[in-house]
């Protein structure tokens, strides 16, 4: 009781200055600390309690999972997993505002079996940014169907041994950014069509494509492909402005341009091109040249060169370079900035 009296006096004399901060700043402050620390602030006062229960972005990273495991008095592994799951359940159930971000970033996949209800839950509470990291998985995790039709979702990042099985015509209606790492993209039919009407950024790294996936993304501007068999994925390069690819993708893409030059349109709007581990070979150079020549608006080129020259083919390379000189000059005409590492 004395505390209540004291509180009145002190608010008159000098108000607790941090409580005067607007909600958006308090939320931002809470989001700059580990979620287990943010949770503790809920017991400071009623205002803080409300801030905590309306926190828009929830991050459950490996640090949080370590914390939950350490706080499990039972040293059994399953007890630790159960404890972490229980804490996340409690946090979601006590949450009273929209959940704009849900980021689950584990170093392992032992929590995979708990994820579905959380993803479904946040998909019904205004989720915009969803991140799932479950690396080193022994079995494949499949994203629940509900998230694919979620209309609030704008950013999806999945780094996991995951099956991505968007059945035909299902689309992420408002997805702006999609990043898939280590993911198996499976088609239900022989050729599936995935329409992503709002997609601007697509990153596909170390993904396997089973079946043929036809991507339709009219607004795509940034494309990154690395270690992925794009043969089974139609290269949607027509509208992109920023392209980043690895040596293998470059060769595949170049081959596709050779084979189906009439069907494919070169990325005419391309502004920046980044090639990781460009090989020093005729195939690589000619592939890069096709892209360069087709992109009349390109102004920035970023190459990281893998220095491994096949000695037996150097003459071939030099003769190629001497014949392609005029093409090279033409290709480099518009470029303002070149970075070679």
């Amino acid at each position: 009781m004395t505390r209540l009296v004291r509180s009145k006096v002190s608010t008159d004399a000098r108000k607790s200055f941090i409580c005067d901060l607007p909600t958006e700043i308090l939320h931002k402050i809470l989001e700059h600390m580990p979620i287990q620390d943010a949770a503790i602030t809920s017991t400071l006062s009623k205002r803080w309690n409300q801030m905590w229960s309306t926190l828009p972005h929830l991050v459950f990273d490996s640090q949080f999972l370590d914390f939950a495991f350490n706080y499990s008095f039972d040293s059994e592994f399953d007890a630790g997993v159960g404890n972490a799951a229980r804490i996340i359940n409690t946090i979601l159930l006590q949450h009273t505002g929209p959940i704009l971000g849900f980021h689950f970033m584990s170093n392992d996949d032992y929590m995979a079996k708990y994820l579905d209800p959380w993803i479904i839950f946040v998909s019904k509470h205004g989720i915009q940014k969803l991140t799932i990291h479950l690396p080193n998985g022994s079995c494949l995790y499949e994203l629940p169907y509900g998230i694919m039709t979620c209309s609030s979702l704008t950013h999806l990042e999945v780094l996991a041994s995951t099956v991505f099985r968007p059945s035909d015509c299902v689309k992420f209606p408002n997805l702006v950014s999609l990043e898939l790492v280590d993911t198996q993209i499976e088609c239900k039919l022989i050729e599936d069509t995935l329409i992503l009407p709002m997609l601007e950024t697509l990153k596909l790294i170390s993904c396997r494509v089973l079946g043929r996936m036809r991507l339709v993304a009219p607004k795509l501007e940034n494309l990154t492909i690395d270690n992925i068999d794009i043969e089974n994925l139609n290269p949607i390069v027509t509208s992109i402005k920023h392209l980043s690819l690895d040596r293998l993708s470059l060769e595949m893409l170049a081959e596709l341009f050779h084979v189906a030059a009439d069907r494919l349109v070169l990325p005419q709007n391309l502004q920046t091109l980044k090639i990781c581990a460009l090989g020093i070979s005729v195939e690589q150079f000619s592939g890069a040249l096709i892209l360069l020549r087709g992109s009349s608006n390109l102004y920035e080129l970023d190459l990281s060169v893998a220095v491994e020259v096949d000695e037996s083919r150097t003459t071939e390379l030099f003769s190629y370079l001497s014949t392609a000189e005029s093409h090279l000059n033409e290709a480099f005409r518009m470029i303002q900035k070149v970075r070679v590492r």
């Binding site: 505390r3 700043i25 017991t43 400071l44 706080y71």
Partner: protein, 163 residues
């Protein structure tokens, strides 16, 4: 509009809460989304900012100047400056944070919020209450319930697991 002055640097006056005036180059204030829009929309040469104390404004202008000089070679120096910048009494840090939020200087806002967060994390509830002068307005019953339910009382959950 902006093309009228060529070669000459455009000058802008910011007026702090206590009517103190600060004269600076217009290019500096463009780091603030709010001021940028004001300058772009209408040709103003003086902007009153009555909600921001002059002391706070001095600090923010100091940051804007340093940030404008940032190059890849003095990155380290800038980092040290940033560290010193938030090394002020809490009340001042919060004043800066609120002002930066109002002015919409995004990079600095993130940095300030991180600095405030760093003063909260890893501390006990009582310690945070003391530092920030927060009085609990919970009833003793509520308090004891919280200790059971909420994450500070993750321990409460744990008791169940060991049963």
């Amino acid at each position: 509009m902006a093309s009228s002055t060529t070669g000459e640097k455009k000058i802008l006056t910011l007026k702090g809460g206590d009517n103190e005036e600060f004269i600076l180059e217009e290019s500096l204030v463009l780091q603030s989304e709010l001021l940028k829009n004001m300058v772009k929309e209408e040709r103003v040469s003086s902007i009153p900012l009555p909600s921001i104390k002059s002391k706070t404004l001095v600090k923010i202008i100091e940051y804007l100047k340093k940030h404008a000089e940032l190059t890849p070679s003095n990155k380290e120096e800038f980092k040290n400056f940033e560290k010193e910048f938030v090394n002020v009494v809490l009340e001042e840090l919060l004043d800066i944070t609120v002002a930066v939020n109002y002015l919409k200087i995004n990079g600095l806002l993130e940095f300030c919020c991180q600095a405030v967060a760093d003063r909260i994390k890893d501390k006990s509830v009582e310690a945070v209450r003391k530092i920030f002068r927060i009085e609990s307005d919970f009833t003793p019953e509520e308090e004891s319930e919280f200790r059971k339910e909420t994450p500070e009382a993750f321990e409460g959950d744990l008791d169940d697991t060991t049963n």
